[in-house]
Subunit: 242 residues, 2 copies
């Protein structure tokens, strides 16, 4: 399936434009991955000196979003792409929007975790946070991989993985609520961790959104509001036709 | 400026298609407004019987999003619109995505506020919540109005209003944190209000996003990552040219 968008166009120039957009999206994705990795090191390992790097990367991510989006509009206006290519361009436009917001959430995680945190994060919560962070990083890595290879199977894995993130999320929230109950003086600091955890959970949602956009791009079926089982049945039906 | 997209097309049929999409967006916006209004009544007035209505409306909003998005793709593929119309279609696609998520946040507000809330919400917080809710409702009303009339000035008001929402948001969060400190047993219930307040704040952000999309549609300038002052200067410069 990985060659879906290649070798079908009359214009070599057009092909190159599409490839250029795709590689820019992956470049942008790489920066956001880096932001998330650093934000997690701030949150889990108290490496607060990394927060600045996460925040500074935001400007690059933002300008890449605008640049790629304008390139998409230009391509649509000039090349008037047909169905499959148009879907690719629309998917890119939505994907970069999600990526930009993933960067924003990473920034929130990095910012919230910087100050007044001495001794607030207990070991049990820290372990859970590290696990949840790894899950979300893996989702982001996989979804960029699915985008790069136009790979529906990997995209489906990402959609499925979100349930695991949500499960861990709920566990951590419960731990933090218990903590605030037991130690009222820690409430303001614990709330900061709470927001960071919430951002991580949203980050997972956004990876799932990108995965859904990829599935739509390939299948031409909008799965955003369909149950996962029905999506899997749809994918199976399609691959039987191939 | 309200006639920007009318009367310029060769094809009357095309005009009708664009108008149809626009009116569907406004229809969708109306349903989301209703969701927000009901969610606020659940949260502020304890009218928990309305939560069901907010949740049920979600399916309609979701299917409208998919329907309008597919119509946009069809229009681009068939009509191959030039710059201005293409911007309109791209803006619609982004706007309905934000609207759908505004509906999701309203659903979160309605859900979180339903249970175990007896006596948790103190009068001072309730008053603040009612104010914040009104601000957000006004933002949504205005941004739909700005979309309907392609009105940049109103869109700018919405971008500006978000700061007011954020100010109230911070005040309420502080009140709730104090509350949890003073009354540890209330922590789980107060956290539910916390999430609802966070959803309201995000709702305001999403209205601001739509406003920015509208400004982009009209000016052709992507303002998402530009400071507000620079945007205002840009708008002034453009209107001097008219």
């Amino acid at each position: 399936m990985s060659d879906l968008h290649l070798g079908q166009h009359i214009s070599r120039q057009f092909n190159e434009e599409l490839e250029d957009v795709r590689s820019k999206v992956l470049h942008m994705g790489g920066i956001v991955e880096e932001q998330l990795a650093n934000a997690l090191r701030v949150l889990v390992n108290d490496e607060s000196e990394l927060a600045r790097i996460v925040i500074d990367a935001d400007a690059i991510v933002n300008s890449l979003e605008v640049e790629i989006d304008e390139e998409c509009t230009r391509i649509v206006a000039r090349r008037q792409p047909a169905a499959t290519d148009l879907r690719l361009v629309m998917t890119v436009s939505k994907t970069i929007n999600e990526l930009e917001r993933i960067g924003d959430e990473a920034k929130r995680v990095a910012k919230m975790s910087r100050k007044d945190m001495d001794g607030v994060l207990q070991d049990d919560v820290r372990v859970e946070l590290a696990h949840m962070g790894e899950l979300v990083r893996e989702m982001l890595r996989q979804v960029l991989d699915a985008f790069a290879r136009t790979d529906v199977d990997t995209a489906v894995l990402v959609v499925k993985a979100d349930a695991k993130v949500d499960k861990r999320y709920k566990k951590i929230i419960k731990q933090l609520i218990d903590r605030m109950r037991d130690e009222p003086d820690a409430v303001p600091a614990v709330m900061k961790i709470m927001w960071a955890v919430r951002s991580l959970e949203r980050l997972g949602d956004r990876c799932q959104n990108i995965a859904e956009h990829i599935i739509y791009m390939v299948l031409g079926t909008d799965i955003r509001h369909i149950k996962l089982d029905d999506v899997l049945a749809e994918i199976e039906a399609q691959s039987e036709l191939e």
